[in-house]
């Protein structure tokens, strides 16, 4: 066992995912705890974490439900929060698109921020990996984190009020996003894309349901690609 190149990548994925457990476990436990305190039963809480498996959307939905927002608004807002994952889907397709439909469906189910981001870093560093090695790595990150997400949601739901929910864990997830992005800022184009994204999302904060994020991200993609083209032209001209 674990001799094939794909399973070797699976193990590397598990290892690379380890630091993210530190962050996702408390986050999952807190989701479970506040969902229970808000009045959901354990099956409903687990329904969220197992079927949706998207922390920030789950928290957004929970928040709106406690405010007794209309069902349609809860669903629309939560899905808007998740729309960025459509970009992840497009971005990872060139790497793992050549696999069976069932594999792709399972990968789509697990296409949340952390496995997506780690896989992108890995695939950019090692473009010669085969499709099965890339899948091995992706699932090596995604499956253990997913299991941790279910297990700690359950623990949080059972312990309920015994879990302190005011430890600042809300900030742990953004920290990991910054930690993932900053090593990627290696060219002017990447830097320009990141800055555009920050400036625009703040300027568009008046837009409803966090839709400003999508506009900011889309423009930032174009800026990154344009700057890359300019830099290439300048290099060719020199």
């Amino acid at each position: 066992m674990f001799k094939s190149p794909a399973s070797r990548q699976f193990l590397i994925g598990i290892k690379d995912g380890l630091p993210f457990h530190i962050v996702l476990w408390p986050f999952a436990a807190i989701f479970g705890a506040i969902a229970t305190q808000a009045g959901l039963n354990i099956v409903e809480v687990m329904g969220f974490s197992v079927l949706v498996i998207a922390g920030s959307a789950q928290l957004a939905a929970l928040q709106l439900m406690t405010e007794n927002a209309p069902t349609v608004i809860v669903i629309a807002t939560a899905l808007a929060v998740n729309l960025r994952m459509g970009m992840y889907s497009a971005s990872i397709t060139p790497h793992i698109g050549k696999s069976s439909l069932l594999t792709r469906a399972f990968a789509a189910y697990m296409l949340y921020d952390q496995p997506y981001a780690l896989s992108t870093i890995k695939f950019e560093k090692e473009p010669d990996l085969t499709v099965s090695e890339k899948l091995g790595y992706f699932f090596g990150v995604a499956i253990p984190l997913g299991i941790g997400w279910y297990a700690l949601t359950f623990t949080g739901a059972v312990l309920g009020e015994k879990i302190p929910t005011d430890l600042g864990v809300d900030f742990a997830v953004p920290i990991t996003f910054l930690a993932v992005v900053s090593p990627m800022l290696k060219t002017l184009a990447h830097l320009a894309a990141a800055l555009t994204s920050v400036v625009l999302v703040l300027a568009l904060s008046f837009m409803p349901f966090g839709s400003g994020l999508l506009v900011a991200a889309a423009v930032a993609l174009v800026v990154g690609a344009q700057v890359e083209i300019w830099m290439e032209k300048r290099k060719a001209a020199l």
Partner: protein, 108 residues
């Protein structure tokens, strides 16, 4: 407290599950192994640096209750600096979280 009925709660859970899956499956499922044009691939390479900063920025610099908190801003800056200097995600996470919870405990 949540006053929604069991039916409403499950409508929300199942709609979110189906919608989220469809969003994630959109390109993986329907494009699959068909080749994408070069200009699109070039755009998509910038996805993480275009999306993740836009997720984080409003929490730090927007209108939220913890925006412009000096501790959070400082730890975010440290995380970015370590990430750029070491090119290592693990170090950036450990230093960022270590500072945040360490200093947070010290300051109270």
């Amino acid at each position: 407290m949540i006053e929604a009925t069991t039916g409403q709660i499950w409508t929300i859970i199942l709609s979110m599950a189906a919608g989220t899956f469809l969003i994630r499956f959109a390109f993986l499922g329907f494009v699959g192994d068909r080749p994408l044009p070069d200009w699109l691939l070039r755009l998509l390479r910038y996805t993480p640096v275009a999306v993740l900063p836009a997720v984080v920025a409003p929490m730090l610099l927007g209108h939220g209750e913890n925006a412009f908190d000096p501790l959070r801003l400082g730890c975010a800056a440290a995380t970015i600096a370590v990430g750029i200097l070491t090119r290592n995600v693990l170090w950036a996470i450990l230093i960022g979280l270590g500072l945040f919870f360490g200093l947070g405990a010290l300051i109270g």
